[in-house]
């Protein structure tokens, strides 16, 4: 198998970012088809396609769309989660920058199916280029009747707004995103069964659909070519249909976004990205920083699909795939992961607020050469005290990579704690380490 460019087919063509160029390449065929369909038929088409959320959780998209009240009694909102923040992931950025109309058309189809009045694209603050591209596309769409009042004669009135974040990973969590959209601190909100589903009472307590950028974009080919066609992609997997964009980075020769059919072996993705750079494969984090890492052996058999990758011990997540070479000090990598989550914990709940900081303190101490004999057990216990106990998924996401790294590479942690030095004693490893940790590595 090779790349299967469904969403990224035209992403290298600058004209695709204009309405004219988009239409010339078959743009808005999906909306034109959808507008002749019953609302339920649109949702059923998505159901047939087996589309699952591309943001990380893999929740069936049609269930969300179907959960919106059919007899409209109040405003309905549509949110595009473009707060891409997972380390290792940069697919939404590219989709917004290079295929903005796919996102807009996908959202318009969802608006048609769920009778949404307004849509918000919540873009992380740093992604100014992506936002500019979308802004130009939205303005053009308004000017030509693809947004606003009575879109394409469908009777649908749909306004689309851009809302910029301001630097918070937590806002990628859908309920925290809604808090942030409403002008609050980006803290997660109560979820089902503690509170109604967003489709019943989401943003501003109104029925709300929230999907990832890639999910909305995927709705376009699904409506254009049909759900029946879409399920033929990834047909050899247990329950993963269509294509998925993986963002490949770290020690590879050609980092970038690669769209593949579900069911592609992980090692083929590595080949697509030009193979390893600077040394042999040691580990891979296939779905963004929060998924457990795989060691080289696991990688050989790993298949990129939701259930298959789960069975191998990791997750598809958001598709941020980092390949690490033999010079990677796993302790150092784990410390940096822990720092990320400690910095990004919103502080709402005790386990995440205190636990992420504590893990970071312990890992930093180990990296400084002051590890204590009980530290590995303590770290494992802390991950257990966070995992499943935190208010939202960020706590879990912080616990898994630490626990995963210790499980896969216990000898590296043991060595570091016992000797106060890294087991990976190469100049390359030293070059990666922060200055204060360099004494754990030999100089050349």
């Amino acid at each position: 198998m090779a790349e299967y460019k469904l969403l990224l087919e035209h992403s290298h063509e600058p004209e695709f970012r204009t309405l004219h160029g988009y239409l010339a390449r078959g743009g808005y065929a999906a909306l034109n088809r959808a507008k002749g369909m019953e609302r339920q038929a649109i949702i059923d088409e998505v159901k047939t396609s087996g589309l699952r959320g591309r943001g990380g959780a893999g929740f069936p998209t049609w269930i969300k769309w179907n959960g919106i009240e059919k007899e409209k009694t109040r405003p309905h909102y549509l949110i595009c989660n473009a707060d891409e923040g997972e380390p290792g992931t940069f697919k939404d950025k590219q989709l917004m920058e290079t295929t903005p109309f796919l996102v807009i058309e996908g959202m318009t189809i969802a608006a048609l199916a769920t009778q949404a009045d307004a849509g918000y694209i919540y873009i992380r603050g740093e992604f100014v280029d992506a936002a500019k591209s979308l802004r130009a596309a939205i303005d053009e769409a308004y000017a030509h009747g693809y947004l606003g009042q009575n879109i394409l004669g469908t009777g649908l009135n749909f306004d689309l707004y851009i809302h910029m974040g301001a630097g918070s990973y937590e806002c990628g969590e859908e309920s925290a995103l809604m808090s942030s959209l409403m002008g609050e601190r980006g803290m997660p909100r109560l979820k089902f069964p503690h509170a109604p589903l967003p489709t019943v009472a989401g943003v501003w307590d109104q029925p709300t659909i929230i999907n990832n950028v890639e999910t909305y974009a995927a709705a376009v080919p699904i409506l254009a070519k049909g759900g029946e066609w879409y399920v033929t992609l990834g047909a050899n997997t247990k329950n993963s249909r269509g294509t998925k964009i993986f963002s490949v980075s770290a020690h590879v020769n050609k980092p970038g976004n690669y769209e593949i059919e579900f069911g592609t072996p992980l090692m083929e993705l590595l080949d697509l990205a030009g193979g390893m750079k600077g040394g042999a494969l040691k580990a891979c984090v296939p779905g963004g920083s929060s998924v457990p890492m795989l060691n080289a052996e696991d990688c050989q058999n790993a298949i990129l699909a939701y259930e298959e990758l789960w069975e191998t011990g990791s997750m598809v997540g958001s598709g941020g795939c980092m390949f690490l070479n033999e010079h990677t000090c796993i302790v150092s990598y784990t410390w940096r992961t822990a720092q990320f989550y400690a910095m990004e914990s919103c502080g709402k709940c005790t386990p995440c607020r205190e636990g992420t900081k504590w893990m970071l303190q312990i890992l930093e101490r180990i990296l400084r050469g002051n590890g204590q004999p009980g530290d590995m057990d303590l770290l494992m216990e802390i991950t257990k005290q966070i995992d499943g106990r935190s208010f939202c998924g960020l706590g879990d996401a912080a616990a898994w990579p630490v626990a995963g790294a210790i499980k896969k590479f216990p000898e590296e942690f043991e060595y570091f704690i016992k000797n106060g030095r890294s087991m990976v004693d190469t100049p390359e490893a030293r070059a990666m380490a922060p200055r204060w940790a360099q004494r754990a590595f030999s100089a050349v």
Partner: protein, 204 residues
């Protein structure tokens, strides 16, 4: 000892509405008015309102800037300060330099040598991460993942990503920025404000 001193200390009072020195330009006020039409509540304008303030107050959300946003949006000062200090892109600690260089040291960048880039920047500018050069031109900052891992190690300057960077790239970048009078931190805030607004809403 210190406790006794603190207990006796005079507490500052929050400014009353008529004591505020409002600095929003007509353009900013028009932008805020346009934003109000985007959301069903005024409260939702807090984030974009803070972006406007960050631009209007030279890249620094000072207490006065926060108070102005709160005042204009009819929220309590404490609430808006709580929002402003939650998000890392709002600069609430101190006035940043004209250009803020943000160094990503997160996972892929870490793997691709970002700490050497950070070291180089520190050595070259003579300040540490989180500090501003004495001439007020540069502030350097460590950031969490910028999600441009294909360009690792990557920097953000204003609304632009720069990467993958080498030490030579940094030399060139610093030279270029030094000669640029416009402020990258203000420009970033302005770009973010502008993408919220439709062409029909943007100032001519």
């Amino acid at each position: 000892m210190s406790e006794l001193i603190q207990l006796g200390a005079q507490r500052p009072k929050a400014p009353a509405p008529d004591q505020l020195e409002l600095r929003f330009s007509d353009k900013a006020i028009a932008e805020l008015d346009a934003l109000r039409t985007h959301y069903p509540t005024e409260k939702a304008c807090i984030l974009p309102g803070l972006w406007i303030a960050q631009r209007e107050y030279d890249g620094y959300l000072s207490p006065a800037a926060i108070a102005e946003v709160a005042h204009r949006l009819h929220r309590s000062y404490a609430e808006v300060e709580g929002v402003a200090t939650f998000y890392s892109m709002y600069t609430t600690a101190h006035q940043p330099g004209r250009h803020m260089i943000e160094v990503c040291t997160c996972l892929s960048c870490h793997m691709c040598g970002a700490y050497r880039i950070a070291d180089y920047l520190e050595a070259k500018l003579g300040v540490k991460l989180g500090e501003t050069t004495p001439d007020g031109v540069f502030t350097i900052h460590e950031v969490e993942c910028l999600d441009a891992c294909d360009r690792a190690p990557v920097l953000q300057v204003g609304d632009q990503y720069v990467g993958p960077v080498t030490e030579a790239d940094i030399d060139a970048l610093l030279d270029r920025l030094r000669n640029e009078d416009s402020s990258a931190v203000v420009q970033l805030a302005d770009s973010i404000v502008q993408v919220h607004l439709r062409d029909t809403e943007r100032a001519k």
